[in-house]
Amino acid sequence: MAARLRDTAAIGLLWGAGIATLVILIVILAYILVNGLPLINWHFLTTNPGVRGQQGTGIYSTIVATIAVTGLALLIAAPLSVGGAIYLNEYTKENLLRKVFRQAAEVLAGIPSIIIGLFGFLFFVIYLQPYTGGWSVMSGGLTLAFMVLPISLRISEEALKAVPGELREGSLGLGATKWQSVTTVVLPTALPGIITGLILGAGRAIGETAAILLTVGGALGLITSVRDPACPMTLYIYNILTEYNDTTTAYGTAAVLIIAILAITFSTDYLMNRYTKKLKGL
């Protein structure tokens, strides 16, 4: 009898935990969106920010900066991570080497963003200054690539692993070379999973602040080249909050970011659904 009571109480608590988590998310999202959505209009999105945190301006250059920095990070990280995943999964056996590489990716994923920012500052901003232009989109993007790489690598590897071995056998048995098998059978099958990994990596890049704080410069002007300094949305929120206490613009910018993140979450869910369906032939 007491056990039954305890069971009900415990299950109730577990329900509470689940609901609490949901509530937390809803509260945070609601707060940002309720305060921030009204600010979002065409003007907000297409006007550049004024200097000195002037009110009534927009965040256009910050949006461009975010896209530029994320795009650059993906440009570098995508081939490296997908290529690396292909190598690890298709060209090696389950041996020590593979474990070391995988472990390296895990370690890289765990390095705090501020340390990666410190590295990016030393390496890209200072050391490679002639090529990157010092504090710039290029420095920021290259630094962010270090953060996108491990996520994309892990998810791509899992996607490749999920492709059944019989498909590879079938392809090789028809006289295809290994590379042909990879590009014409394995990759297309694993593609939704791989793209999910890239999108999640992009999400990380979009939301990252500490690493770009030290590398991207924070200048508000619209960039004309990747060697210009810039101020992506996340950094902008931090700056206007701490320097000008402009909570209004911060809300608007945060709302735009949240919408981007939600879009990413939903698209990856949809993609993973399509992926599992494809493997079953539906």
């Binding site: 056990a3 689940g18 765990g110 705090p112 990252e208 931090y238 993140i261 939600l262």
Partner: protein, 304 residues
């Protein structure tokens, strides 16, 4: 049926150099891609340590044990003690985990065992969404909601240890939830069915069979959550207060390694800047220890 025309050209059965070289070339390119993560870590360590380690060597143990932090750009003129900062990082992390782990594990178990499919369909994307919220937005929210609430009810500035605990515990939830859920789901069905078949209640089964069986994964998730908490910068930067002293209450401000680095890098030069790199090295070592621990724990997993 007779094969009339032949479309497929077949070369001699002897392997050509061209094919061998072609395949080998591709393999090399892919290998280079795979090495990139190892290479990346190597680069990071080399550069960060190259600035931080010489400073550590010069400053000696008092860097870690000293309580006074008065940085200037020349080594001799400054006082380099970061104990309050290290303590700050630890307090903030441990508190966040103390709050976040029970909630996260409970939610993870809920998702794995109790939640009906409709609730799961709502909750799982929600956890993903929580994971995706940028840290600066978390900090922003905490600054505008949690900090004033603390200030109003408990006095002080509001930017405090408590504020960090609350927001950080929320931030580490997704990590703990998703790994705990996976760990509990990975427990073989026979364990659960065996327990229920003996007349145990759902909770008894969860508590005595499932959680112990999933314990290595759950502990690993907590350790990873700890790693995330100790490495978090932006949210802490906004709500911690950043006063360099060991906090005397949970309503007092605190400073962490991450926030101090972020804050002072903007204007640090010379020895001061090197000192910040040294702090980065200390943080890095903490993370390595935590990651190693997590691996050790998850490897001790009972194989079925």
């Amino acid at each position: 049926m007779v094969v009339i025309t032949s479309n497929i050209e077949v070369g001699s059965l002897r392997r050509t150099r061209r094919r061998v070289l072609g395949e080998r070339f591709i393999q090399w390119i892919l290998l280079l891609c795979a090495i990139s993560s190892v290479f990346a870590i190597f680069l990071i360590i080399v550069f960060v340590f190259s600035q931080g380690v010489p400073f550590l060597a010069e400053a000696g143990l008092s860097f870690l044990t000293g309580s006074v932090w008065l940085p200037t750009d020349s080594f001799a003129a400054g006082t380099w003690g970061i104990l309050p900062i290290i303590v700050g990082s630890l307090i903030v992390t441990l508190g966040a985990v103390a709050i976040g782990a029970p909630l996260g594990i409970a939610c993870g178990v809920f998702l794995a065992e109790i939640a009906p499919p409709s609730v799961r369909r709502a909750l799982i994307p929600s956890v993903s969404a929580l994971a995706g919220v940028p840290s600066v937005v978390y900090g922003f929210f905490a600054l505008l909601v949690i900090v004033p609430w603390i200030r109003g009810h408990f006095g002080g500035f509001g930017t405090s240890v408590l504020a960090c605990w609350i927001i950080l515990s929320i931030m580490i939830l997704p990590t703990i939830i998703s790994i705990s859920t996976d760990s509990v789901r990975a427990v073989p069905r026979e364990f659960k069915e065996g327990s229920l078949a003996m007349g145990a209640t759902r909770w008894q089964t969860i508590r005595s069979v499932l959680i112990p069986a999933a314990s290595s994964g759950i502990i690993a998730s907590v350790i990873l959550g700890m790693g995330r908490a100790i490495g978090e910068t932006m949210a802490v930067l906004l709500v911690a207060g950043n006063t360099i002293a060991i906090p005397n209450s949970i309503f007092a401000p605190v400073s962490t390694l991450t926030a101090t680095i972020a804050l002072e890098m903007n204007y640090a030069t010379g020895a001061h800047q090197q000192a910040l790199f040294a702090m980065g090295v200390v943080l890095f070592v903490f993370i390595l220890i935590l990651t190693g621990l997590a691996n050790l724990v998850s490897r001790r997993r009972v194989t079925y």
